[in-house]
């Protein structure tokens, strides 16, 4: 761990500023905001997975006291609103564009998943809106639901123009070379895997409050967004709700996102449109049932993988074939997640020379599937680390030794993989070695024997994961199909008294930006931590930004702030040189003071700030004021990596799996706030444990969501997980000024594979799928 130079500087476990309001119940979330004359929205949602809308009769609803309007998808079309675009255009194997079915904000003619909005009732009160919703008579013609991934390609076509329900058939890597290497491999390990469908379940459900000021023509949308500027761009340029300069989007306190609040959804779009139509502010807050049905889901792959090894156990080739369920429509990043955030990670930590990945993205009559904590990388890690562990078992090799043999060595960096990435730095064996010590790997046999003496089966499993964070650089990503840039903005406004207000285009919905970013800026400028205020999540205050996802905030957003700080220091040196009658080159900036070399002359940061705003003694050729901004476009991804080790015990009588121990040793590069990083890992691992052992979204054959509440969808709780052992190793990122890599997703990326490797080790059956429920394990044990 890097050493902190002060109690609040980089490297210090500063308690989170924002927690005072969060834990005292005084945060301000979207639903806490109210407007005079506010009305309420209740959405009409499809009860069918696939149905034609024949007619909508709202007359009875409109007679209910308090109901103001019933607006439908057809009304949106009539108003000229556009479809919600997919933010990443994937090219298929044959070079053609993916087939993107139109995604109307609200269905106008046909609904394609249970819970899909096709209209909205606006009323004085929420109760009246709900009564109105129930009074709307909609005549549907139900069509056969297409939900089964195994038969979706041969089923009826869901969208016009989308043959075989195939959105894209995508590939990466060299097919021929990979197949040839597999054909001549000494051993080939084959594995079929399912990556279970998950429902994100942020603590705060989605919410929106739309306000239209008819005098100024300004639209304001308060909403639960991880990226308000991106939402504004899409709602202006594509959906055409309002011109960008007449639309302000504010994401105030947001209670968790995990990816699910990146996307542009129907409800938020409808609320701001409806506010203008009815001439009153419109508020909507999802209830938990709506969250289950209509938040974008995560994962949902079926995969066949083959790993070839030579006589020594060196990996010679990996071939991966995946069918990815995209749901009914391509959500904002629905196409990128199972392709560029998945196939590119198939090298893992290993120097496998031949890799080929093909992914078929298919439409089904289920909720759209998009990024969920890890987004493609947990799925990739699951493939790589399950098949590596399986190969070790088949070859009779120690899984640690087999991994070590194949790992990319520290002197091989920068390392170019066969799947389009260049890893800048890493030391995978260091994380592995440290994790083995924490896990007392050497003592496992003894623990296994002790468990066996009590009639229990104990298993251990590793995952040596890699991920790619801070998606970048913009020009490459745009070449690959991204429809937006991937830089971030940062601005530091210095007040005349020397305190600063920091504006970031990234967004905190639990990550702790207000603390971490204040640490970065106070450390860099040598000013007190308390003198730094961080502003985010408001297009009216922050110039531009791309928000928070993919563990990008610090690596990209933090780097932008460093660049802005550097500009301030440069300007400050000129001011100081003038005031101290020295050459600019002779002025140094050290710990908050501008000093003239080899003299005792200095001016503090605050004195320079004051001089910039009260320019009495000031360089003639310099503008007054002390405020700088920067857009930072990274030159590469960052590559956090590490080793996770899980140990489980299986009750053979019931099949219950207990997670006994979990060790995570991660290389996140430099760490700004170790406490926050540890918390991020804890949360991620708990989510990964949920995926491995508890969580599964299930649709029945009619496309009805069976797991539509917490009674049936099992979220992990505190008593489902042990105390985690969390540690780090550090190889600083080579290409960003902080040397940071990102830590938000790693916990959820490494843990499912580690836990399933442990479960299958304990049970002695490699076919158990996630979640490893007690009945599945019991059946495997019989």
């Amino acid at each position: 761990m890097n050493e902190a130079k002060s109690a609040t500087g980089i490297g210090a476990s500063v308690k989170r500023k924002e927690d005072v309001r969060f834990i005292t119940g005084s945060g301000c979330y979207t639903d806490d905001i109210n407007q005079p004359g506010q009305s309420h929205a209740a959405f009409l949602r499809s009860p069918y997975a696939r149905a034609r809308i024949e007619s909508i009769d709202a007359s009875a609803a409109l007679e209910i006291e308090g109901v103001i309007a019933v607006l439908t998808g057809a009304d949106m079309v009539a108003d000229g609103l556009g479809d919600i675009p997919c933010g990443w255009l994937v090219k298929q194997k044959d070079g053609s564009d993916m087939v993107s079915a139109p995604h109307p904000p609200m269905a106008a003619t046909q609904t394609n998943y249970v819970g899909e909005p096709y209209g909205v009732v606006i009323a004085d009160t929420l109760a009246a809106a709900r009564l109105g919703m129930e009074a709307v008579l909609t005549d549907f013609t139900e069509l056969d639901a297409i939900v089964d991934l195994a038969t979706v390609r041969d089923s009826e076509q869901i969208h016009e123009g989308v043959e075989g329900n195939l959105a894209f058939d995508w590939e990466l890597g060299e097919r021929e070379a990979t197949e040839a290497a597999l054909a001549s491999a000494a051993h080939v390990t084959r594995l079929d895997l399912t990556n279970n469908r998950l429902i994100p379940n942020a603590m705060e459900p989605r919410a929106a409050l739309g306000i239209f000021d008819k005098v100024s023509g300004e639209h304001t949308l308060y909403t639960t967004s991880q990226n308000p500027h991106l939402a504004r761009l899409v709602l202006s340029a594509f959906v055409q709700i309002a011109p960008e300069h007449k639309l302000r989007i504010v994401a105030p306190d947001v209670g968790g996102g995990f990816g699910s609040k990146i996307f542009i959804y129907a409800e938020e779009t409808a609320v701001i449109w409806a506010a203008r139509k009815v001439g009153r502010p419109v508020k909507w807050t999802a209830d938990r049932s709506e969250s289950f049905l209509a938040d974008a889901h995560g994962r949902d792959h079926i995969t066949h993988a083959e790993l070839g090894t030579d006589e020594e156990g060196r990996f010679v080739a990996l071939k991966v074939q995946t069918t990815a369920n995209l749901g009914a429509y391509l959500s904002t990043f629905g196409s990128a997640v199972p392709t560029y955030l998945y196939g590119t990670l198939m090298a893992g930590q290993y120097s496998t020379p031949n890799i080929y990945v093909e992914v078929q993205g298919v439409y089904t009559n289920t909720a759209p599937v998009d990024a969920y904590r890890g987004a493609g990388r947990p799925e990739a890690t699951y493939v790589v680390e399950r098949i590596v562990e399986t190969a070790a078992r088949e070859l009779g090799r120690d899984p640690v030794e087999l991994r070590r043999l194949n790992m990319i060595k520290p002197d091989q960096f920068p390392y170019e993989t066969p799947v389009a990435l260049v890893y800048d730095t890493g030391n995978y064996e260091a994380s592995l070695a440290k994790a083995l010590v924490h896990a007392d790997y050497a003592g496992f046999a003894e623990r296994r024997a002790a468990a066996a003496a009590e009639g229990k089966r104990r298993g251990i499993g590793l995952a040596c994961y890699i991920e790619a964070c801070g998606l970048a650089p913009s020009n490459l990503a745009i070449q690959l199909g991204a429809q937006v840039g991937l830089y971030e903005s940062g601005e530091i406004r210095v007040n005349p008294t020397g305190s600063v207000t920091v504006f970031t285009g990234s967004h905190s919905h639990g990550q702790g930006h207000e603390t971490t970013f204040a640490q970065v800026v106070s450390d860099k400028l040598g000013i007190p931590f308390e003198d730094v205020e961080v502003v985010h999540g408001d297009t009216g205050r922050v110039e531009f930004g791309l928000g928070t996802y993919g563990s990008r905030s610090l690596a990209v957003g933090g780097s932008a702030l460093i660049r802005a700080a550097e500009k301030l220091i440069t300007k400050g040196r000129r001011i100081a040189a003038h005031m101290l009658e020295a050459e600019v080159d002779a002025v140094e900036f050290i710990d908050g003071d501008f000093l003239v070399k080899d003299s005792n002359q200095s001016l503090s940061f605050a004195e320079i700030a004051f001089a910039a705003y009260v320019p009495a003694n000031y360089p003639e050729d310099l503008e007054p004021g002390f405020s700088e901004k920067a857009f930072y476009d990274p030159e590469n991804f960052t590559y956090p990596a590490g080793t996770h080790i899980a140990e489980v015990e299986v009750d053979v009588d019931t099949g219950v799996v207990e997670l006994k121990q979990f060790v995570a040793v991660d290389d996140f590069g430099n760490v700004i706030n170790p406490m926050i990083v540890t918390g991020q890992v804890h949360g991620g691992v708990a989510q990964g444990a949920g995926q491995a052992l508890l969580e599964q979204a299930i649709y029945d054959e009619f496309g009805q969501l069976v797991t539509g509440s917490y009674m049936d969808y099992c979220m992990p709780r505190a008593d489902d997980v042990p105390d985690f052992t969390v540690d780090t190793t550090v190889t600083p990122c080579t290409h960003n000024p902080l040397g940071v890599k990102g830590c938000g997703e790693a916990g959820a990326i490494g843990s499912p594979a580690a836990i399933m490797n442990a479960v299958t080790d304990a049970v002695g059956d490699n076919s158990i799928s996630m979640p490893a429920t007690s009945e599945k394990v019991w059946r495997a044990l019989r």
Binding site: L131, Y710, M711, Y713, C714, S774, W778
Partner: protein, 266 residues
């Protein structure tokens, strides 16, 4: 949730009279089933009759051989009551594992037994301990009380006032919780009354029942290993995404074995 009339009677007679005069009346006890049902719009009663103010439904008394508990007693009270913990610890243990803390602070014994959710815990105790259910007008033997899925011997409008639990020499309850809801996938209560064994099972079937086959074996030999040979048919058992009927039948045996092990360790 829809509009309804709210009543808070102070006697059984008044409550029953309100019920009888309503087109669609619902009694409200702890509300742990009814309130979520209302919120989801799955019920739309005309009248809600809140039973909390009826003195006759409150109170706990412990006599020789019998624990008598008022129907409105919350789960948390049963879990923490010093006298119940002393003379009938199995019931406190069971109550302390219902749902979560919030459910236990509001949910009531009478509400749970009247509702007869197939996955509720108390029915295992009613059966396993051979309890007697008192209503405003009669007593019903626990063995005759549970009829089917959410169906009991209660007549429309009939209110459980108290439940009397005989005190066994020793007893244990083992529950296999649903990991999501923490309801019982199966729950088995085994009680030893001077060598006569009773086994109450919840979660496995449409309603709680006595596992007479298991009782017969344990009456011969109160030993967990004795159950290994028992063939417990799963006919009529519940089957859902959390557990098949076959798995439930297996779990009943495992929970029974563990309850017997617990008993022998007492």
């Amino acid at each position: 949730m829809y509009r309804f009339n709210y009543h808070k009677p102070s006697s059984i007679e008044e409550a029953v009279s309100l019920f009888n005069s309503s087109d669609d009346g619902f009694y409200l006890s702890g509300g742990q089933t009814l309130i979520p049902t209302l919120k989801l719009g799955l019920a739309s009663p005309v009248d809600i009759i809140d039973l909390s103010n009826i003195e006759a439904l409150h109170g706990i008394s412990v006599d020789s051989g019998l624990v008598s508990i008022g129907a409105f007693t919350r789960h948390a009270e049963v879990a923490e009551h010093p006298e119940i913990r002393r003379v009938l610890p199995v019931l406190s243990h069971l109550a302390g594992r219902i749902g979560d803390g919030q459910v236990r602070n509001l949910g009531t014994m009478g509400g749970s037994v009247a509702n007869s959710d197939p996955a509720a815990d108390y029915p295992a105790a009613v059966i396993g301990l051979g309890a007697t259910i008192h209503t405003g007008k009669r007593t019903i033997s626990g063995d005759d009380y549970f009829k089917d899925l959410f169906e009991t011997a209660l007549e429309p409008g009939e209110i459980i006032t108290r439940i009397d639990y005989p005190i066994p020499d020793r007893a244990a309850y083992r529950k296999f919780p649903n990991p999501a809801s923490r309801y019982a996938v199966v729950g088995v209560l085994v009680a030893d009354f001077a060598g006569a064994i009773r086994v109450g099972v919840t979660g496995a079937g449409p309603c709680a029942f006595r596992a007479t086959g298991i009782e017969a074996v344990l009456n011969q030999n109160l030993d967990p290993d004795a159950l290994k040979v028992v063939d417990l048919p799963d006919a009529g058992f519940n089957s859902d995404l959390h557990a098949s009927a076959e798995y439930r039948a297996h779990l009943v045996k495992v929970m029974a074995e563990r309850a017997v092990t617990d008993i022998l360790a007492l």
